[in-house]
Symmetry: C2
Subunit: 262 residues, 2 copies
């Protein structure tokens, strides 16, 4: 299980401020902290970037890769920003992501195919809704996989995100349990070992305090790891959750067991 | 997931001492601490009780049920002690347990049938070995289930223990992952919804420090809960592990989600 930092996001005031001032210092410092904490990839989430999207993404990608050589995820709905990020990226880069929404199929998927990079596919309806049943999710997974491969994407370029929902949603517990089932069954459903990613922070949107957020994230992470999750998108700044993430990774590998979780 | 305290065991010097002196005080205090921590059942593990087994088990059962009204598990290989415990028990009582070892099939299983109580069945070979492959475990589960039901046990009286092994065993990671798979597949394998129990403390035998033990136990618990485990046999005295156990229980129920994990 690869641990992807979601810390570099525009909703963090320090990030928004640094981006507005084109000040690489705070972003560099953040990325170095993430890497030191054990992040194995950096998700760059600058929001929709409605103005100067391309220039802003280029700045962010260049700043991140001056700080570290970790893979980068371009996490925006702005296709020009994705294009600029792909052009600026020097190492492994992923597009995060597309779904069955027609404009994403049209604007995002072809870039992944043209650049030969990996892309995250969200299990959302054409109207960007989270499907309400496991069956609907599975149908969307099949449709998404077919749409992507028929357009020319290779199966190994696709990483499926089942879309975790906040636990506080009316049927949040059920939906997230079904996401676990989906992750486990996906290889059999699609007939190929397509990888998966899940956003851990989503689970605890609206958590009243850090302690609760940590408890529920660090309880869900092992469940996701045991289901076979390949990439966990998470805040890497919380020491407890990171320890559990590393222990989960260790317990789901074929390594020789050692007490130190790396 | 029911949380069963394994704290009342002869390997704890305070328990051994109190039992030797027939002093109910320390045992009562221990049981009250377990109940306050959230234990939902008490496992009584006095070892093989080679001398005065019946009298000792009677003393323990009576002491525990004067302290609380929680269900009791009689965790001994001594059949006379089990008989004495069954006779002394006033509330829900379970035998923990039997396996395919001939003397256990002969001495333990009939007591569960005669008293109409639940019994834990360990997935061990006839020679009390942990089977080395998932396939062997599944075969033992089928054989054990058939032996029990043919002798007259009802399926709902049987609780299967896949036997977690220490993570430090050469193939401990693989074996424990296969135990997760077994727990998940058992209802389909046997064609009935037989319940499961697992000993969490087993995982970390030999752990160099409390912090490591807590980390790996609290990482495995959610994995077991998500696989469908019905009863977790664990030290209930560690606050972190208990919080994770309660959060795991909450996340795997159909309750309305609340941030407080009970």
């Amino acid at each position: 299980m690869l641990l992807v930092a979601d810390n570099l996001r525009i909703t963090q005031p320090a990030v928004a401020d640094a981006l507005a001032r084109r000040d690489p210092g705070p972003i560099r410092a953040l990325v170095l902290r993430c890497a030191a904490a054990g992040a194995q990839a950096i998700d760059i989430n600058p929001g929709p970037l409605s103005r100067n999207g391309a220039a802003q993404m280029r700045f962010l990608v260049e700043t991140v890769q001056r700080a570290c050589s970790l893979p980068i995820l371009l996490d925006t709905t702005n296709p020009e920003a994705v294009a600029a990020g792909l052009a600026a990226a020097q190492g492994r880069v992923l597009i995060n992501g597309f779904s069955l929404e027609p404009h994403k199929l049209r604007q995002m998927l072809p870039q992944a195919i043209a650049f030969g990079v990996e892309i995250v596919g969200y299990l959302l309806t054409e109207r960007s809704q989270v499907p309400s049943t496991l069956e609907a999710r599975m149908e969307i997974a099949v449709t998404l996989y077919q749409a992507a491969t028929e357009a020319g994407l290779k199966a190994e370029q696709l990483i499926i995100d089942p879309v975790m929902v906040p636990l506080t949603w009316e049927d949040g517990l059920r939906r997230n349990r079904e996401a676990l089932t989906l992750i486990r069954r996906l290889p059999e459903l699609l007939g190929v070992p397509v990888r998966t990613i899940a956003g851990i922070s989503n689970l605890t949107s609206g958590a009243p305090d850090v302690r609760r957020r940590t408890l529920f994230q660090s309880t869900y992470l092992p469940m996701l790891a045991a289901a076979g999750l390949d990439m966990a998108l998470m805040e890497v700044s919380d020491g407890v959750t990171m320890q559990v993430a590393k222990a989960s990774r260790l317990l789901t590998t074929d390594a020789i067991f050692a007490w130190d979780a790396h």
